[in-house]
Amino acid sequence: MSRNLILGALLASLVLLAALVSFVWTPYDHAALDIPGKLKTPSAQNWFGTDHFGRDMFSMIMVGARTSIAVALVAVGIGMALGVPLGLTAAARKGSWLDEVIMRGNDLVFAFPSLVIAILITAVFGAGAINAIIAIGIFNIPVFARITRGAALSLWEREFILAARVSGKGAARISAEHILPNVANLLIVQGTIQFSLGILAEAGLSYVGLGAQPPTPSWGRMLADAQTMVSFAPHLALIPGLAIIVTVLGLNLLGDGLRDWLDPRIRVARA
């Protein structure tokens, strides 16, 4: 196992742990106001200090992790649930009109500037976590469709697929029983990368006020709140930003590490 994989897994599970623990325990109530104790710098009582309403930053970061992870994870889920079957179908019917329609549709979604469309969607249908999930999720679909089709196409040329066809299995069964397990590794790696992109996108949307709405804490909105106070309370901006960086960095390293680890060709070459 590579250093990337270990470091990435460590950072990512740290954030995941914080999010899970926040369901049962946070140092303080993340929404409890304490105006006299506002804008405290990090100390033994408040590990990450307090914000302009005296809320404990550490508790808010923990609960905010929940929001980020939930939005990004469901968005990846949408991309996989729709993109993978589309990619499998396109590969199974290679060259047909169905393949053409799916791939052209993919190109079209790819051509859209995703952030702009995400802003359009959330602006029109209202800001909120659900719409942010949909806006991010839509752009995950072509990513998974394309990667699935690409990998599946080369598998369809292999002899074990031919054997399955000879034994009488239909295209749908072959896709599900033979193609899908063989592209799973690739999907896990891509899923990790899309997950990290989703965290960044969620942060951006909630920074401009189009993500999860108050009182649900989100890292992006904590940054938006901190902006006007950055001159006298820099920790308010520093800490949520570092939380995002740790999460995204962790997931990216995990993705890179998994790719190297799961790809047998590279493993053989290294051994």
Binding site: R104, D107, L108, A111, F112, P113, S114, L115, V116, I117, I119, L120, I121, A123, V124, F125, S196, L200, A203, G204, Y207, V208, L223, A226, Q227, V230, S231, P234, A237, L238, P240, G241, I244, I245, V248, L249, N252, L253
Partner: protein, 315 residues
């Protein structure tokens, strides 16, 4: 080449047509009637009807779609619901902030990424390479709007080298304008530079393994000469595609960065229009951005095919 260009042109047209339908449809289902929003709750029914007629909101959906599209084709984007000025005028004014910002950031990103990527590839596996790669890993993970806030904190608030936000306008001179766009451009450029440096490095590493590189060394070129004369040139092809793609990221990314620096660009226009439910402005700006992105990608594809004939056979 002509056939390829035509084929790509047709798919460009289809993309734009579908994009316009999607954007129109999304705006169409938006709740709220612009006329009643503008006139308030006490508006009389006949005034509302008159305003709807004035704004062209009383036609059928199909009619309004074709009016919108045919207007845009001749540069008429309609009239803003809230400001009562032509949308094309508003966009043109804001464009002079967003477009230079995106180009400035693209230049910075390229200037950072090229040397970094070439340096890392030339020192593959050595500490210099590892440092550059570590830095790019970090660069990709940093949200650009957060980086922008940190730049403001350090260079505007503490060092006072730049203003924390706002835009002086180009009539104050080129230098003043560029000066107020410098921090936003750096914030936009950093994550893109990190991606570009990685592409540059891996593209160059691929080329370094080619036979013609060995030939170049065999005929007596030094490592450095071979790298610059044969390596970098060939490695540039995939890098140029990424630069084309990055232009669209930068244009879209400027929407958020403009919020950090209070820049009067397209991004701020969109957000103001959203909160005022000035949907025709939102619709037109989004369409324009999509148009810019799709067209730039088309041009990159064409340029690419002109340079490399092998690519023309691929769809």
């Amino acid at each position: 080449m002509l056939r390829y260009a035509l084929k790509r042109l047709i798919s460009l047209m289809i993309s734009l047509a579908v994009a316009s339908v999607v954007i129109f449809a999304v705006i169409e289902v938006a709740p709220g009637d612009p006329a009643s929003f503008m006139l308030g709750v006490n508006a009389q029914e006949d005034t509302l009807a008159a305003l709807r007629a004035e704004l062209g909101l009383d036609g059928s959906k199909l009619e309004r779609y074709f009016n919108w599209v045919s207007g845009m084709l001749v540069g008429d984007f309609g009239t803003s619901y809230t400001y009562r000025t032509p949308v094309s005028q508003m966009i043109a004014d804001r464009m002079w902030v967003s477009l230079p910002l995106a180009l400035y950031a693209l230049t910075l990103s390229t200037l950072i990424a090229f040397p970094a990527g070439i340096y890392a590839a030339a020192r593959r596996g050595k500490p210099g390479d590892l440092t550059v790669m570590g830095a790019t890993q970090l660069g990709i993970a940093v949200p650009n709007f957060w980086f922008a806030m940190m730049l403001v904190l350090i260079f505007a608030i503490n060092l006072r080298w730049f203003n924390a936000g706002g835009f002086a306008g180009w009539d104050q001179g080129l230098w003043t304008g560029l000066h107020s766009l410098t921090l936003p451009a750096i914030a936009l450029a950093l994550p893109q530079a990190a991606i570009l440096a990685r592409v540059m490095r891996s593209s160059l590493l691929d080329i370094l393994g080619e036979d013609f590189m060995r030939t170049a060394r065999a005929k007596g070129l030094s490592r450095r000469q071979a790298l610059w004369r044969h390596g970098v040139r060939n490695a540039l092809i995939p890098v140029l595609t990424i630069i084309g793609l990055q232009f669209s990221f930068l244009l879209a990314g400027s929407i958020i960065i403009e919020q950090v620096f209070y820049l009067p660009g397209l991004g701020r226009l969109v957000f103001q229009a959203i909160s005022a439910r000035d949907l025709i402005v939102v619709e037109s700006v989004v369409m324009l951005l999509v148009f810019a992105v799709i067209t730039v990608n088309f041009l990159v594809d064409l340029a690419y095919a002109a340079v490399d004939p092998r690519l023309r056979s691929r769809t």
